[in-house]
Structure formats: C-alpha cells, structure tokens
C-alpha cells in the first residue's frame, strides 16, 4: 500500500489499462508530448507512442466524436477534456451521440468511451474556467457519471470505466490533483456504482461528492469536538444515484445536509432531496439543508470567489441548523 497523489493514481490506471489492452488509447489536448496539463498521462507518450497517446488539436467536439466513432469499432478511448467548461463544446457528440447510440440502435452498437475532465473551482480562474456542470451530465440518460474524491477511486474507477461498455464521465477536480492517499500495490477495480459511508455517525448525515466530501469530513471533525456524531456519505456516482445507501443513512440519523460545489438550481442537492422524500420522507426529523455555490458566474476577485464557493464552515453551519443548535 503506497500513498500517491491523485494525478499519479490516474496515470497509473492509464498505464495499466494501456498495457492490458492494445485497444485502449488516450486522446486529448497536450496529453502526449507535453505530458498532460495535470500530469495524468506524463511519460506515457514515451512508453506507448503517438498512436496510443494521441495529442489532439483544440477541437473538443470533433475529437470527442472521433473517440466515440473509434469506440463503435472496438477501441476503448480515454478522452481528456482539459476543463469541464470546454466539455460544453463536446456536448453534441457526447450527449446527442455517445449517450444515445446504444438506445437508438436497439442495443446493437455501444460506445465504451471514458471522458475525464476536472470539474471544480480552483484559484481565481474566473467564470470560464470554473463552471461545475455535474448536474447537467447526471441528468442525461445513457451516461454514467462518477466523481472520485481521492486517489483510490481516481485509480480504481478509471480502470472500471475503461472496462465498462457504457460511456462514462469521470469528473475530477483541479484542487485535488495533488491530494495524496493510499492505493493498494496490487491491481484494484473500484465499482462505478454505489455510495460510500466514509465516516460513520449517528446524529446527522453529511452528503457530498468529489471535493465537497472533504468539506463534509472537515465539518464532521469540528462537529465531533462539539459532541456531535456526523456520518459522511460520498455519493461517488451521480448517475445512477445509490438510493439505498442514502435511505439507510437517513433512517439512522434522521437529519441531512447536502454539500455541493455546483449551483443549487436543478442541482445535485435538489435531486438528493427528491430521492430522500421519495424513499424515506417520514424518517426526517428536520428539513434538509443544501450547501451550494452562489447563483452567479464564478468571479475572479479572491474575496468574491471565496464568498461564491462553499467551505467546511458552511457545511458546519448547515449541520448545526438541521440539528437545531442555532
């Protein structure tokens, strides 16, 4: 068991899957000779060559479409989009093609692509590099959407995504690429479905995904110091949602906070609250509270940006509210 960085975990998954199956290729901007914006493919161009680590021009919609077409003929492309904001350019091939081809061909053609893209806010990148579009992808039938919160899932979910026959969107996070965590030395697959209880507790459930799990964990530490036992649930997959694990946790704690870095409207939190209302409404002892970004394009100014994006204290305040402590 070694402690490695998130980017190293992604790189290792690429390396193992490229070695395992010659049909696996990686495509994206600057991923080859330049080594990848977040180093996730560093050194692989030298190891596997230009035919398998494919540097693309800045043409997101069409290189995604080329990956999709290749997947229809047996390749397993891992497509990197440098920022989820740029994935908007690829929505036609991704949503109108990859997500629909299996269905509209009556199950006769599948598109086993993986699209990896960082989808969070970093530091003062301003509005066009800071969109968080998880809620858009999670509403699209025909896709799988996963959000690894640390190196283990970043590694093991990418490996599963490459093997899976469905199109999988992996939403990473600019602020997590250097985060470190333990990953087993032996080959490991992490499933693409299923929420995870990352900290067990009895008084309140804090639900997060991707980076917001870490806000929930930090809030849980502070709550513990106040004598409150918080359970932290990592959704892991936004499509499909693991309704059972959410229900079981809420039936145990009766109180819920949902923390998302995305905006609230038609968002992850609204979906999770709908799930809770449908699954276990009468288990609730208090109104659920959402922690979310301000409903504005993300500003450049440091103070404004901080005010727009939720932090651990916001999660703590929300927990105290559902606990009736404020």
């Amino acid at each position: 068991m070694a402690e490695i960085a998130y980017w190293e975990a992604i790189r290792r998954a690429h390396d193992e899957e490229l070695a395992h199956d010659r049909m696996v290729v990686a495509m994206g901007e600057d991923i080859g000779v330049a080594g990848g914006t977040y180093k996730a493919t560093s050194g692989l161009y030298q190891k596997y060559g230009a035919d398998r680590i494919i540097d693309t021009p800045i043409s997101e919609n069409s290189y995604t479409g080329i990956g999709i077409g290749a997947s229809m003929a047996g390749l397993r492309p891992i497509i990197e989009i440098m920022s989820i904001n740029f994935a908007l350019l690829a929505l036609d091939t991704l949503i109108n093609a990859a997500a629909k081809i299996r269905y509209m061909s009556g199950g006769r053609v599948s598109c086993p692509i993986v699209m990896r893209t960082p989808g969070g806010t970093a530091h003062q990148l301003a509005a066009q590099h800071s969109a968080r579009l998880a809620r858009m992808f999670m509403s699209t039938p025909g896709l799988r959407v996963v959000t690894p919160r640390g190196p283990l899932d970043a590694y093991g979910m990418l490996k599963s995504a490459v093997r899976c026959n469905d199109p999988v969107i992996i939403i990473e996070h600019e602020s997590m690429y250097n985060m470190r965590g333990e990953v087993p030395d032996e080959e490991t697959f992490r499933p693409l479905e299923g929420a995870e209880i990352v900290r067990a507790g009895t008084d309140v459930t804090l639900i997060g995904y991707n980076y917001s799990v870490h806000l929930c964990l930090a809030a849980a530490e502070k709550l513990a110091a106040m004598g409150v036992s918080a359970e932290v649930l990592d959704l892991r997959a936004l499509r499909p949602i693991d309704r059972d694990t959410i229900r079981r946790s809420v039936e145990k704690t009766h109180k819920v906070v949902i923390a998302e870095e995305d905006e609230a409207t038609v968002g992850v939190g609204s979906e999770i609250i709908s799930v809770i209302v449908e699954e276990c409404f009468f288990a609730l002892d208090a109104q659920p509270v959402r922690v979310h970004a301000a409903d504005v394009p993300v500003p450049y100014n440091r103070q404004l940006e901080k005010a727009a994006i939720p932090n651990a204290d916001d999660v703590l305040a929300a927990a105290l509210k559902v606990l009736g402590r404020v």
Binding site: M104, G106, R108, S110
Partner: protein, 337 residues
C-alpha cells in the same frame, strides 16, 4: 462490368426508388411516423459508391436520409422497412426509426439527425481501422449542407493530419433543407474547400452511376492504399422535398423538370437499352418484380411484425448485462466507514 451485374445494378436502383415511394405511401397512411427523408433522385450516388466499396467489410455512416445507404451496405430491406414502421424486428428494434438505421452485422454504423455529426464518427471508425491494421476504410455520406458545421472543418483537419482511411462522400443536392447552396455557402463547389486541409478531392456527375463507380473506385483505392482521406463530391438532386413536411416552395418547376430529365434510373436504363443489355419489356418486367418483392416481402414483413413490448422501455439505455466487477455496488467490506 458484365451484363448480369449491369442488370443487377439497374434493379437495385429501381428497388430503392420503389422502397422510398412505398414508404411515402405508408407515411400517408400514418403507418410510419415522425420525420421521413426520401432519397428518390440520388440513387446513383449511394449505389455506385458502395458498389465500388466492400460492403460488410468497410464501415458506412451517414445522415438521416439513410434507408438506401443501409440497404446497399447490406442491411435487409425488410428490417429497414420494419424500422420505419417502429417494429421490434426493425434494424434498430423500433427504437431509432427512419433517421437512425443501424446494422453493425454489415458495419452500417448509423444514420444521424445532427447535421455534420457523422464526420467525426466516421473519422473515429477510420482511426479504429488504422489502429487495428486492417484494410477496412470508413465511408461517410453527407449532404452539402453538413459542410457548414464546425465538425466538418475540425474533422477534415484531424483526418488529414492523422492520414485516416476515410472517404468523405458529399452528395451535393444543391439545397440545405430549403436554402439553396449559393445563399448559404461562400464556396459552392464543395471539393474546392479541401485545399484548406490538404485532402485530395474531385467533383463528378452524381446522376450517372457509371461515372460514380469509376470516380469512387479511384477514391477508394487511394484511401485503402494508406494515402489518407479523400473527399469526393457528386452533383445530384432530390426529387422530393427535404422531408415529408416540406412544401418544396423554394425550387422552381423548371429546375425540377431539368433534373427529372437527368433521373439516374432513366439514364442507366437508356444506356443498357442502347447497349442491347435490356429491352423496354425487360425493364417493365423488372419493375413488376420489384413491386412484388416490396409488397410481398418487405412491406408484409413490416406490417406483420410485432411492436416492441412496453415493458422493455428501459432496455438498451445502458449495457443490460454489465460485469459486476466494474459496476458494483460497493461491497460492505469496501466501505471505508
């Protein structure tokens, strides 16, 4: 080409025309729903290009005017008609309809409704062929209207850069839906646009199947020979409107009359008569046998086939039999709590 192949090609084009006209009738009877885009008038292009290709081996992909391309590529005509009827025996099990015919058993990889979307998909199919080292190529049929999408320019750049084995077939029928090409496109000769991407290209008569086959044969030899993509433009004309909801008010009667004189089936039939391969009587007998085949086999199959079951609504959205190792859910032991 010997006489029996010539007769077969003429019969194929007559069959495709009748298939389209018969689906028009079924549409008017409300047995076919949605949008229906007919290929009548352009038959020589798909028939000639795919005659020069290796159907079942090469990949074929196109837009929504896809029935004839699918059938010539090898999809059974009765399954294509059943798809128009929305039946479970259809090419796409009733889930796709007219615009989304798929038959991967013959490498026909679909009809698509987003104009220009097949460009990158075709280049991707070609990338896979190149990666696997087979001698397959990808053939992408699209209309002139698709060439004003961003995917056209993005894909041409990558296809040329990576020397992908893909043949782009531009069926220039002069109208992008209802807008004439000179009102939508700064450079009306489409093959000229390829100089920007260093892709060899040429323009040909799309109404004469012999000309189509000869030109496509050369283009396919170029692509299969590992020399990279080729862009081939055929001048053609659709005899019907863009789709069934089209009033066709944007074209002059005189223009339509001129193109009807250049009907590809008529041109080829006349040629075979002059060569002594066919007589008027032979052609009449051929038309009768096509009518019978369409009625007794193709339409009957579509009419008599069952509908998909409503309880199968959610089928085919994702892999219906996924490997639990990749999918999950997490076992209790894997939970870190």
């Amino acid at each position: 080409m010997n006489a029996s192949d010539q007769k077969r090609l003429l019969r194929e084009m007559i069959f495709y025309r009748r298939f389209e006209e018969r689906s028009f009738e079924a549409y008017m009877e409300r047995k076919i729903g949605g949008f229906l885009h007919l290929y009548s008038g352009q038959e020589a292009v798909a028939t000639g290009v795919l005659e020069a290709a290796r159907c079942g081996h090469d990949y074929v992909i196109t837009g929504y005017r896809d029935h004839v391309h699918a059938i010539k590529a090898g999809a059974p005509a009765r399954e294509v008609m059943a798809e128009l009827y929305g039946k479970v025996t259809g090419s796409s099990r009733g889930r796709g309809g007219s615009m989304h015919i798929f038959d991967p058993t013959v490498n026909f990889m679909g009809g698509y409704a987003l104009v220009g979307q097949p460009f990158p998909l075709a280049a991707g199919l070609a990338l896979a062929c190149k990666h696997k080292g087979t001698d397959q190529i990808a053939i992408c049929f699209l209309g002139d209207g698709a060439n004003n999408q961003g995917t056209f320019h993005e894909t041409m750049n990558m296809a040329s850069l990576w020397k992908l084995p893909v043949l782009f077939v531009c069926e220039n029928n002069l109208y992008a839906i209802g807008t004439r090409i000179d009102r939508s496109t700064a450079v009306t000769d489409q093959y000229k646009r390829m100089c920007a991407y260093n892709i060899p290209s040429s323009q040909h008569d799309g109404q004469d199947i012999d000309a189509v086959m000869a030109a496509a044969g050369d283009a396919i030899a170029h692509v299969r020979g590992g020399k990279g993509p080729y862009f081939i433009e055929f001048m053609t004309y659709r005899q019907r409107g863009h789709s069934m909801s089209d009033s066709n008010a944007y074209r002059s009667k005189e223009e339509e009359r001129q193109w009807l004189e250049r009907d590809p089936i008529r041109i080829y039939g006349e040629r075979l008569k002059k060569a002594g391969v066919m007589t008027d009587k032979d052609i009449a007998a051929m038309e009768k046998s096509v009518l019978e085949e369409i009625e007794n086999d193709v339409v009957r199959f579509a009419e008599e086939s069952p509908e998909p079951r409503v309880e199968d609504l959610n089928k085919y959205c994702l892999d219906d039999q996924p490997d639990p190792r990749w999918i999950g859910p997490l076992a209790q032991g894997e939970q870190h709590g």
